[in-house]
Symmetry: C2
């Protein structure tokens, strides 16, 4: 994850959404949740408490990205999760949930768990209602129009 | 949930941890994750974007509570989750994870899902290594010592 952040910061990439001052946002793989993003701390830390005076800015960047997702994809609900059980480097998952999802009352992890051993289910959960490049473009346009902060 | 917040605000309760200016924190039911807390927005909102200028303070209160949990129970990792799929009123779950938990790489929801139809598993996940009253006392002591803000 640290290497991923470093790479994204250096060269960008098709899934890159935004270079915030304290984090990097990119489109996540499970685009059944259309607009699903990850936002990763630039600072190598595993808990919010380790960010010191930058903690508030990191949380504000997460909330700004969430606002962009909400504005662009009008989800039924957002799920905000910072887990780090497998990859402890601080990263938020922001999952837009749809009112049409039969599993909308449950965390998304039941679906992705099933997808691990079911290629058809995996393909279904990786495919969104809007092409990834279009999702990225919509998010970037909103963040630009709303003056989201960028890395210097 | 709105009624729960109103009740806790009015009368307190044994699980009540802290009255923050913008939220109320209390011990959660799944104390296998010893120190697990919920922190609920006082303002009736379902997304962070609805909090307007109070959003940063609400997030800071969540992070302060997380810091208290970390200091009091020294978990292997914290999981921070704001879902609202069932109860949309803004509330964070903060789950301390243990290095000894065989399920430590997965979100806690697989365990609580199984517990719904398994009374023994439910009892196991509701029982912590420290009695709830002691958890609350430790958290309150830390928050007091560290000058956590309180509701006026």
């Amino acid at each position: 994850m640290c290497k991923t952040v470093a790479d994204l910061t250096a060269v960008g990439g098709p899934g890159l959404v935004w270079h915030f001052p304290h984090s990097v946002a990119f489109l996540g793989p499970w685009q059944f949740y259309t607009g699903y993003c990850l936002i990763v701390s630039r600072e190598p830390a595993s808990e919010l408490s380790q960010l010191g005076p930058n903690r508030a800015a990191f949380l504000e960047e997460m909330a700004t990205l969430a606002e962009a997702i909400e504005a662009c994809f009008t989800p039924h609900k957002l799920n905000y999760e910072l887990l780090g059980n497998v990859v402890p480097h601080l990263h938020w998952h922001i999952f837009p949930r749809s009112a049409n999802d039969p599993e909308k009352l449950r965390p998304i992890w039941f679906g992705t768990d099933k997808a691990e051993n079911d290629p058809a289910e995996k393909a279904r959960l990786q495919t969104g209602s809007i092409p990834p490049a279009e999702c990225v473009a919509k998010l970037r346009a909103w963040l630009t129009a709303n003056g989201a902060p960028t890395a210097s």
